[in-house]
């Protein structure tokens, strides 16, 4: 089965086609931040270049964040629309998991850190276990100080990856010690690990209908706004 992966949770736009042979086609662009203008032509291009027609796609994989809401709404809406039109299921995967996956052979704590803007970050920690990675902390949202506090509490060598880690590199390095940073080209989740992880899930039929896919909100999305003042005004 072929899987189309759509990734727009950070500044990078990425899409890929993969299956049991691995990744067959990959598109990535970081500069520009024009998710809406980029994603559909990119999908069309990789399908054409890889000689894949849309009716061969058996599932759509999409990064559901946490990340940029301006980006995610483009990718998730595209995934939902394509899943509906093609009558295929969707495999939602978290951005923080996608950042950790390429580092799964690292023998230390992996901290994935996505820039949440306004000096906040989304983060999760992972540890190598037989056969893959285990998430040991998070996903959480907090200040850079919160992240540093969590790293210090762990008190072990760690590898930080993600656009949030690079943006706040100095603060993290000064505060947490014994921390190294992964390369810039690993700092944005990519559709390549997305289709690979999704393929494993597809074999177990771990998927949902497109209508069930929602972005990963880490700030209590169902919390009602405390509108005490507005009620008075109304």
């Amino acid at each position: 089965m072929l899987i189309l992966g759509i990734e727009t949770a950070t500044d990078q736009v990425s899409c890929a086609i993969g299956g049991h042979e691995g990744v067959l086609a990959l598109f990535e662009v970081l500069r520009g931040r024009r998710h809406a203008e980029t994603v559909a032509p990119a999908i069309e291009m990789i399908c054409r270049q890889a000689d894949v027609t849309l009716d061969e796609i058996g599932a759509i994989a999409v990064d559901v964040g946490p990340g940029l809401f301006t980006g995610m709404r483009v990718g998730i809406a595209t995934a939902k629309a394509m899943a509906q039109a093609l009558r295929v299921p969707v495999i939602p995967i978290a951005s923080l998991d996608l950042l950790a996956f390429p580092l799964r052979h690292a023998d230390r704590l992996i901290a994935t850190v996505v820039d949440a803007r306004r000096d906040e970050v989304y983060f999760a920690f992972y540890r190598q276990v037989p056969g893959g990675l285990q998430r040991v902390t998070g996903p959480a949202v907090g200040s850079v100080d919160d992240l540093v506090g969590e790293l210090l509490a762990r008190g072990e060598e760690s590898l930080c990856v993600g656009d949030g880690a690079l943006r706040h590199r100095e603060l993290i390095a000064t505060g947490a010690r014994r921390v190294e940073f992964a390369e810039q080209w690993l700092a944005h989740p990519s559709a390549a690990p997305l289709v690979q992880l999704a393929h494993a899930k597809a074999l177990r039929e771990e998927w949902v209908p497109g209508s069930a896919v929602v972005p990963l909100y880490l700030r209590r999305p169902d919390a009602e706004i405390n509108w005490a003042t507005r009620e008075v005004a109304r």
């Binding site: 306004r118 919390a223 003042t229």
Partner: protein
């Protein structure tokens, strides 16, 4: 906290222009006050001072309006929203991260969690029934961005301090 007295919507626009003179890209300003208190008038004066030519209207039903001036001005209104997920979808923090942009959020005080530490809050309140156009405006800053600029903010607004 700076407390000012505005005599009319025109005066409120002048206060807004004075605030606009000290803003920097990345600033996020919360506009607080009941319906008709002058939040949109403030936004109009603010945008005009930044060279926005397009008419500035209330974004109550469209949620976010974006104007091009000396800086880009994103003008949001969260009044119609019920849940924090809807606020997240507006991506206010991302708008503030936009290069060369400043963000105004009407009714923003109720959703300040998640907008970071650096905020300027402008509160507009009617005074007495005999002077329906008069407003008390309180301006308060939070975070390092505003702390380092506070003397300039005070100087810019000195003319309205009672």
């Amino acid at each position: 906290v700076i407390t000012l007295l505005s005599s009319s919507p025109t005066d409120t626009k002048a206060v807004a222009a004075a605030v606009a003179a000290v803003v920097r890209p990345g600033d996020l300003i919360l506009l607080v006050g009941e319906m008709g208190s002058g939040k949109t008038a403030f936004a109009q004066g603010f945008a005009a001072a930044l060279g926005v030519i397009d008419p500035v209207t209330s974004p109550t039903f469209t949620l976010v309006h974006t104007y091009e001036g000396r800086y880009r001005v994103h003008h949001a209104d969260v009044y119609r929203l019920e849940r924090m997920a809807e606020v997240a979808d507006l991506a206010i923090a991302e708008l503030a991260d936009d290069k060369d942009a400043v963000v105004l959020v009407e009714w923003g005080d109720v959703v300040a969690a998640g907008l970071g530490h650096d905020l300027l809050t402008v509160r507009l309140e009617p005074t007495e029934a005999e002077r329906p156009e008069q407003r008390v405006i309180t301006v308060s800053g939070a975070g390092d961005r505003w702390a380092e600029r506070w003397p300039r903010v005070q100087a810019a607004l000195a003319a309205w301090v009672g």
